[in-house]
C-alpha cells in the first residue's frame, strides 16, 4: 500500500548505482570511451538503458564518476605500502604483487583510457592531472630511499627509478587487461630486477 520507505529506496538506489558502476567499469576499461555504448553498459548491468539516466546524468558523468573512484582507489592502494611489514624491498615486492593483482586491472585500464583517449570529459582530465604520476612518485619516494640506504635498491635518482618502475607496471597492466594470449605477465622476480641493487 504505502510506497517504499526511504531506507528501502536508498538501498535500491545504492545497489543499482553499484551495479551500474561495476558494469561500466568493465566495459569502459575494455572498450574505451568511444567504443562503449550506453546500451552495452545497460546490458552488462542487466537493466534498461533508460534506467542508466536515472542514476547518471550522461555517459560523461558516468565515466567521470568511475575515474574519480579509480584515482582515489589507486592512491589508497599506494598508501597501504607503509602499513606493510618487512624490509623495503620486500614491501616493494608486495606492492608490486597487489598492483598486478586481478582486482586492480580495470582501474588501471580506466585511468589509461582517461589519459589517452580523445573526448574525455574535462573533469576527468582534471582528476587525472591532479593525481598524476608525480604524486605517486612522491608517495613512494620514502620507501625507495629507505631501500637505497639499506643497500637493497639500486642507486641513482630515486624519483627516476620509481617513475620507470611505475611506467613498466602500468604498461603491463594495460596489456594484461585484455584477454589475449599474446602478452605474458612477467614473474615478479624478473620485474624486481629493475629496482634491485645488483
Amino acid at each position: 500500500m504505502a510506497p517504499l520507505n526511504d531506507e528501502q529506496l536508498t538501498q535500491i538506489r545504492d545497489e543499482r548505482k553499484e551495479q551500474i558502476i561495476a558494469a561500466a567499469l568493465q566495459v569502459f576499461a575494455r572498450r574505451g570511451i568511444a567504443g562503449t555504448k550506453m546500451s552495452m553498459i545497460a546490458t552488462e548491468a542487466g537493466i534498461s538503458h533508460g534506467l542508466l539516466y536515472h542514476y547518471f546524468k550522461s555517459k560523461d558523468d558516468l565515466f567521470t564518476t568511475l575515474v574519480e573512484g579509480a584515482v582515489l582507489e589507486a592512491h589508497a592502494e599506494m598508501k597501504r605500502v607503509y602499513e606493510l611489514p618487512g624490509s623495503p624491498i620486500e614491501r616493494i615486492r608486495m606492492l608490486t604483487e597487489s598492483t598486478l593483482d586481478e582486482g586492480g586491472k580495470p582501474y588501471f585500464l580506466l585511468i589509461h583510457q582517461a589519459r589517452t583517449s580523445e573526448g574525455v570529459p574535462e573533469r576527468a582530465k582534471l582528476l587525472i592531472e591532479k593525481y598524476s604520476l608525480e604524486l605517486f612518485v612522491e608517495q613512494l619516494r620514502p620507501l625507495f630511499e629507505q631501500g637505497q640506504q639499506a643497500g637493497e635498491v639500486a642507486e641513482g635518482d630515486a624519483g627516476e627509478l620509481i617513475a620507470c618502475y611505475l611506467s613498466v607496471l602500468s604498461g603491463l597492466m594495460v596489456l594484461s587487461a585484455h584477454e589475449t594470449p599474446d602478452y605474458i605477465m612477467p614473474r615478479i622476480e624478473l620485474l624486481l630486477r629493475l629496482v634491485e641493487r645488483r
Copy 2:
C-alpha cells in the same frame, strides 16, 4: 593533354594508396578503431573522404590492410637484428633502441589496437594470431641463447625471458604513444637490467 597511360595511372594509384596508408596508420594507432573517423584519415592524407573508397573497400578493409603491413614490418625489423654487428647484448640493446624509436611506434600501436580492441575485423584478428608473440620469441631465441652462452644474458628459460622483455617493451610503447607527461620512457640501461646477467 594526352590522357595518362596505364603505367602512370598505376603509379598514381600506388602513390595515393601509400599516402592513405601512412595517414591511416597515424590516426588508427593514436585513436583506435572506434575513435577514428574516416574523415580524419582523409584530412590527414589531404584528400577527400570519398576518395578513400576508391582505394579501400571500407574502414575495416583499410584497417586490415594496415595490420597486415604492420605485422610484416615488425617481423622484418626483428630479423634485422641478425645483421647487426656486435655482441649479443649489444645487439639486444640496439634492437631495443630501434624498437622504442619513433618510427616503429605506430606499427606496434596498431598491432596493439588490433589485439585489444573490440570490433576488430575478423581477418585482422587472424593475421595477428598468426604472427603472434610466440613467433617473435622464436625469432629472437637464437640471439638470446647466444647471449646466455656468452654470459651476457641472464640465465633461465630464454623463451620466458624474451616474452617478458617484449611484453615490457610493448607496454611501454603503448603508454608512450600518447603525449602525456604521466609516463616516462625509462632509459635503455634500466630496461636492459631485465635481461642482463648480474
Copy 3:
C-alpha cells in the same frame, strides 16, 4: 485508525483531481502540448508523476479534459454578460475587462493551443469545433444589436463586428500569456474604439 470510508475517498479523489487540473491548466496554457512534460504538471501539482495516472489515463486524456472544462467555462463567462447591469456598451466594456482579466487567460490560451497545435487529441478537436467562434458570436449578437439600436455600437454586420472583436481579444490574450516586455496590452478605451459608434 479506521480506514477511510467511501465518501471520504471520493472527496480525496475529487480534490486531487481538481488540484491536477489546476496545475495542468497553468502548464499546458503556457507551454503548449509538446512543450509540457507530465513531470512538470506533477511538480506544479505537488504530487508524484506516477499519481497522475491514477486520475487521468494519459497526457492526451488530461489535455482533453482540460479543454472540455475550458470550453464550458468560456461559454458560461459569455452568458454572464446578460446578467450585468448598464447599457450595452457598458456591458461590452465589462465583458472585455473580465475577459482580459487574469483569471480567464489560461482558459483562452488552452483553447488557443487546442485550436492551433499539431498533435491535439481528436476528442479535443471535436470539442472546440463544436464550441466554435460562431457560437460565441451568436451568444453575443443580441447584446451588440441592442447596442446598435441604442446608437452606441458601430453599425454594419453585427456578426462580423463581434467576430472581429473576439479575434482581436483572442490575439491579445495569446500574446499576453507570456511575460515579455515585447507586447503591451492596450487600454480598454482603445480597444472599444473598434466597436463604438463614432
Copy 4:
C-alpha cells in the same frame, strides 16, 4: 570525370539551404520548437534528415538562422513605409495591408515562437531582444506624429498608440497563421479605427 566546379557546388549549396530554410520556416512557425522534429523539416524539404546537418549545425542553429532572417525582414518591411506615397493615414493603411499579407505570416509566427517558447537558443533570444517592439515603435513614430499633425491620427501618446496597434496586428497574425475557421481576419477599415481620429 572532374568533380563539380566551385560555382556549381555553391549553387547547389545555396539552393539546398534556401530549400531547407523555407521548409523549416513553415514547420517551426506552425508547430513551435518543441513540436518540430528535424525529420519533419527534412520531409518538408524533400531531403534526408542527415543532409540537414551538412547545412546547419543543429536544430538550434537552424532555428536561430530563421529568427535572424525574420527579424531583419520585419524591420526592412517597416522601413519601406517611408518610401510609400500618400498621406500618413494612407501609408499606415498600406503598411497594415502588407503586414497582414500572406507572405509575412510565418515570419511573425516564428518571432512569436521565439519570444514565447521554452528552450529557445540564447542567440535567438538576444536577436529578438535587440529588435524589440520598442525599436518598431521608434521606427514608426515619425509617421504617426505626422499623422497626428495632419489631424488624421488619434491624439495622445503616439508611442502607446503604435505599440497597441502593433500588438493587435501581432495577435491577429499569430491567430491567422493557423488554418482554422475559428478566427477571422478583420477588414482593414475596422482595424484602422484603432488609430484614426474620430
